[in-house]
């Protein structure tokens, strides 16, 4: 016996599913529904009969009618989902900041491939290096692998297109810069690919007269280096350095990206030898051959050191005393020096957000090697433990349990990732930034996080504006409709004044003028809510007035008057509930309207100021063919969220209006 027949046959036995189905139906339909057979398979005849038989309260009738409109229910569900998404979502983003920018993560397409080391490389790692969003790995067989977000902005260059000659060569060293990769083959030949227009690699025909380019020395380009004696190859933002065993340093690249490079080159050409060097985002730092001091060519640059990422700073000379600096690694804006007594010290700035300190080590344990990413350090101790510290904004320091990488003999860090490698050259653990669900914007901020937080702002502004406008509209409409006469005249003239104000221009002017006054950003946001609210109540006031005019002629109002109920009480307690349906509909539609206006204002730059995200101002860069052609993710996702939300709210409002309007039932 099918379930359908089962439920119809009320005298027959009910199985448990029907009973439970009935309970669920009651949650939505109410108990009175059970007087009618289960609604799923009703015939028209039965519906008609049921309509006659049962008596439903207006509210329940409204809910039931609404429930019949499947698209409206779906829309309502989506609106709720969106609400939860934007108001609960931020709780899961502890590191999110409105003003966050990251120059190394600009315009990255949606990807989760930043930790996806190619299979061939996983158990044969010779080195891994990274500077921004892609990583370059080198296997012991001399093969180069590139993974991550490899497309370079709008240039159309893909660093994953490894040149043929590099694929055929046996590569010994490989390093990644912001937009170029440099590799040295076993014959000493230096290869470079990626962007070349700013002096990263190649001759003048690549730079086309770019003046700040310091080209790779012709000798290196033609004859290569003595690969057996290369001590270190490192790439900076758009520059490269090769340090030889004898302390000779070769440097080239974009001088604008590495401000003191020319001075270091002059110094090196004068015969100076170096023990180590490293690039921060904007500078190069070298260590003198005897390890007693650093040389940057700029007075006092990176000259204050501290023993941990926070704490008091000392002059470098005084701090190290007779100790020597062995090596140095640098993140974007700070440097870690390793001293010959196996201690570390740091110089430079540390962003105060999400900062993780150097872990305390057990006695007898010390760091044997340190690597630096864009904002974090990874250290390997003599007992095979790997630690990460520094900036944890993008989860760089969320290392897995030590047991997973207890036998690490090598650690590689770069960009925002860290890889622990064991004695057999296998990657045992990798952690850090995997990528971005919706990509990043032109400031390097995660678009997904900004959509969530921007949605919160957009909805908050819309909701508060609509609450303000509703309150004003109800008060004015009720008073005007109920009292009539002079009150009505005055209030309606005021309404007319406000209605005559052209909305968008006026809001823009007010916002622009507020912008010139000394208000904080939060105050400006509040002011925008008020502007929107105060400018959009007129429609509701007129509607309420009209409804009240009708309602006050009813008998029960006369009765209330006869009983001596106070006039204001009649207006708000006896008449207002009768116009509540109009108010709810207008509220819903106005909510979408206010959200639209806010987005429009913010899009034009007169709404919520940057860097506070809203869906409107997140789209303001999108009207640009470069963005449209190359960075589609920067507007598509935001646009979809905004569109879905406003469309769904409008559908819900529309359905509500149809449902609450008693006339529409006759038409149906």
């Amino acid at each position: 016996m099918s379930e359908k027949q089962n439920s119809r046959n009320k005298a027959g036995r009910k199985n448990i599913f029907v009973t439970m189905g009935g309970w669920i139906a009651r949650i939505f339909m109410g108990a009175s529904k059970s007087a009618v057979p289960n609604d799923r398979e009703l015939t028209d005849e039965e519906i008609r009969r049921a309509d006659v038989e049962e008596i439903v309260s207006p509210l329940r009738q409204i809910v039931r009618n609404f429930w019949e409109r499947k698209y409206a229910v779906v829309a309502l569900f989506l609106v709720f989902a969106m609400f939860l998404f934007v108001f609960i979502g931020p709780l899961f983003m502890p590191h999110y900041r409105d003003a966050y920018t990251e120059v190394l993560q600009k315009n990255i397409a949606p990807t989760f491939s930043m930790l996806s080391v190619p299979k061939e490389l996983r158990d044969d790692v010779r080195s891994i290096d990274s500077f921004t969003s892609y990583s370059v790995g080198l296997s012991n067989a001399g093969k180069v692998y590139v993974w991550g977000s490899t497309k370079l902005g709008a240039t159309g260059i893909d660093v994953a297109d490894i040149p043929e000659e590099v694929q055929n060569a046996n590569i010994k060293f490989a390093a990644a810069g912001a937009d170029h990769i440099i590799a040295i083959g076993d014959d000493g030949k230096i290869y470079g690919w990626g962007a070349k227009n700013l002096g990263q690699y190649g001759r003048t025909d690549e730079t086309r007269g770019f003046e700040a380019a310091i080209l790779i020395p012709e000798d290196l380009l033609n004859n290569g280096v003595d690969v057996a004696h290369v001590k270190k190859l490192e790439c900076g933002y758009q520059c490269t350095g090769i340090l030889m065993d004898d302390g000779t340093l070769h440097l080239w690249g974009n001088l604008n990206a590495c401000a003191n490079m020319d001075r270091v080159i002059t110094y090196a050409e004068a015969g100076a030898k170096f023990r180590d060097f490293t690039f921060t985002l904007n500078y190069i730092v070298t260590i003198r051959e005897d390890g007693s001091d650093i040389y940057t060519g700029q007075r006092d640059l990176f000259n204050l050191v501290r023993s941990n990422v926070t704490g008091p700073a000392y002059k470098l000379k005084n701090y190290i005393g007779s100790r020597k600096i062995v090596s140095c690694v640098a993140t974007s804006d700070n440097i870690c020096y390793m001293l010959d007594d196996n201690s570390l010290c740091f110089s430079g700035d540390f962003a105060p957000y999400a900062l993780v300190s150097v872990p305390g080590l057990a006695s007898g344990e010390y760091f044997t090697s340190i690597r630096a990413g864009a904002h974090h350090y990874a250290g390997l101790t003599n007992q095979g433990h790997v630690y990460t510290w520094g900036d944890n904004q993008l989860g760089q320091c969320d290392a897995p349990k030590q047991s997973k990488m207890a036998d690490a003999v090598n650690v590689y860090a770069g960009g925002f990732q860290t890889y622990a490698v064991n004695g057999e050259n296998d990657i045992t653990a990798k952690w850090g930034l995997r990528g971005y669900l919706f990509g990043t914007d032109n400031k390097g901020a995660d678009i997904f996080q900004r959509i969530v937080n921007g949605g919160k702002m957009t909805m908050t502004v819309g909701a508060i504006a609509v609450i303000i406008s509703t309150i004003i509209g109800i008060i004015v409409g009720c008073l005007s409709g109920y009292f009539g006469g002079k009150v009505d005249m005055v209030l309606m003239r005021i309404t007319e004044i406000f209605a005559a104000i052209p909305f968008l221009p006026f809001a823009m002017i007010l916002s622009a003028i507020m912008g010139r006054m000394p208000f904080s950003d939060n105050a400006r946001i509040v002011i925008i809510m008020i502007i929107l609210g105060v400018l959009s109540w007129t429609g509701l006031a007129r509607l309420v007035r009209g409804q009240v005019l009708v309602a006050r002629e009813n008998e029960y109002v006369t009765a209330a008057k006869a009983m001596g109920v106070k006039e204001s009480k009649i207006a708000f307690k006896h008449i207002l509930p009768n116009v509540i349906s109009v108010i709810i509909v207008t509220l819903t539609l106005d909510f979408a309207g206010c959200m639209l206006t806010e987005s429009g204002l913010s899009y034009l730059g007169f709404g919520v100021p940057q860097p506070h995200p809203t869906w409107g101002n997140m789209l303001s860069g999108a009207n640009n063919l470069t963005v449209m052609n190359n960075f589609w993710w920067q507007w598509v996702f935001t646009a979809i969220f905004l569109a879905i939300t406003t469309i769904c709210i409008n559908i819900v409002g529309d359905a509500l209006r149809d449902v609450m309007d008693p006339k529409s039932k006759i038409d149906r």
């Binding site: 007319e496 052209p502 221009p505 006026f506 622009a512 429009g600 905004l642 409008n650």
Partner: protein, 348 residues
């Protein structure tokens, strides 16, 4: 009827007066002093003078400019009256809005009136097309939706129009630009003519060029207004179709076309006409977002750039213009309502 119209005009003037006061107050909230800025700019010419003399000279210049701009009195009411042109300046002359002094643009170094001419022409040029196009599409569409109510086509249009009016203008514009300029590359993304106006000497070729650049803004404008207007026409048409006279007409055996277009549409026209009138006044004001996005030198874009460059005299005049337009619109709508629906007149 005349009494009714006079009454409406009276209301309109009162509202205009109050709004101008509001505007003046807001305008005066901006912390800027034109006389001071001008005096500062002029005093540079006297930099050879000794300090004391220079200070005196500055005071003198400052006062001169204050007199010129009518800001030499602190009384805000007097200043307002001077701005409107009802109170004389210190030199005894009236020089306000009523006398045709609409202010001076610092950005362009011209009188505001001269600045507004070109944008106004452009805006009107575009909006006439946009409005005609939109009306030409929405009215038949709305009618056919109402007639075929509940059918598949109507339901589809309901979804399309709800999308149309739920999306912000700029989003629609972005999507269209992407579609036509990025995906298919058949239309220019912004601007009004080919850069440099190479066809300026050939009128028809030039017009063709301008039209080519106008296609995309026109499409966007039409699409944006499609949603609201179609729904409005549909709603009033449905209302009209449910009237008793329609039943009678059908019962008489009139052809369906005659019933719809002659009987129902006439009745549906009353609310539609008012909306259309409001629209035609929009021809002068232009769409801020669309003009800004497509770099059309129109009224909306002028307001946008003036706000950006803090050229407040222009903003002020634009604002008064917008207010006047919207008040005129209300007035005309009221009058038309009164003409077509005598109950309104009686009621007031």
């Amino acid at each position: 009827m005349l009494k009714y119209i006079l009454k409406r005009i009276g209301y309109m003037l009162a509202v205009l007066l109050i709004l101008s006061i509001i505007m003046f107050v807001i305008y005066n909230l901006v912390p800027s002093d034109r006389a001071y800025t001008d005096a500062k700019a002029e005093i540079i010419r006297y930099k050879n003078l000794p300090q004391e003399e220079r200070d005196n000279k500055f005071e003198e210049l400052y006062h001169e400019y204050q007199v010129l701009y009518g800001t030499d009195v602190d009384n805000k009411i007097v200043r307002y009256l001077r701005w409107v042109g009802l109170a004389p300046y210190s030199n005894g002359k009236l020089n306000g809005l009523l006398q045709g002094n609409f202010g001076y643009s610092y950005q362009y170094n011209k009188d505001v009136v001269d600045i507004i001419k070109d944008p106004m022409r452009n805006t009107m040029f575009i909006n006439v097309f946009a409005t005609l196009l939109a009306l030409g599409i929405t009215i038949p569409l709305g009618i056919s939706c109402a007639v075929k109510r509940g059918k598949f086509g109507d339901k589809t249009m309901q979804v399309v129009t709800i999308i149309g009016y739920s999306l912000p203008t700029f989003l629609i514009a972005i999507v269209f630009i992407w579609f036509f300029c990025s995906l298919f590359k058949i239309l220019p993304p912004s601007g009004m003519t080919t850069p440099g106006r190479p066809y300026a000497d050939n009128y028809w070729r030039d017009l063709l060029d301008r039209m080519y650049y106008l296609i995309l803004p026109l499409i966007v404008m039409t699409f944006c207004s499609l949603g609201g207007m179609t729904r409005y026409v549909r709603a009033s048409m449905i209302e009209a179709l449910s009237m008793d006279c329609i039943k009678t007409a059908r019962a008489k055996g009139l052809r369906e076309k005659v019933v719809v277009y002659s009987h129902a549409w006439r009745n549906a026209l009353i609310p539609v006409v008012t909306l259309v009138v409001g629209w035609f006044l929009g021809i002068f004001s232009g769409s801020i977002v669309i003009e800004q996005m497509f770099a059309i030198n129109g009224m909306g874009n002028l307001l946008y750039t003036s706000l950006r460059t803090q050229d407040y005299d222009v903003v002020m005049l634009m604002q008064m213009f917008y207010v006047l337009m919207s008040l005129l619109g209300n007035l005309i709508i009221d009058i038309i309502y009164g003409l077509v629906d005598p109950r309104v007149r009686v009621n007031k």
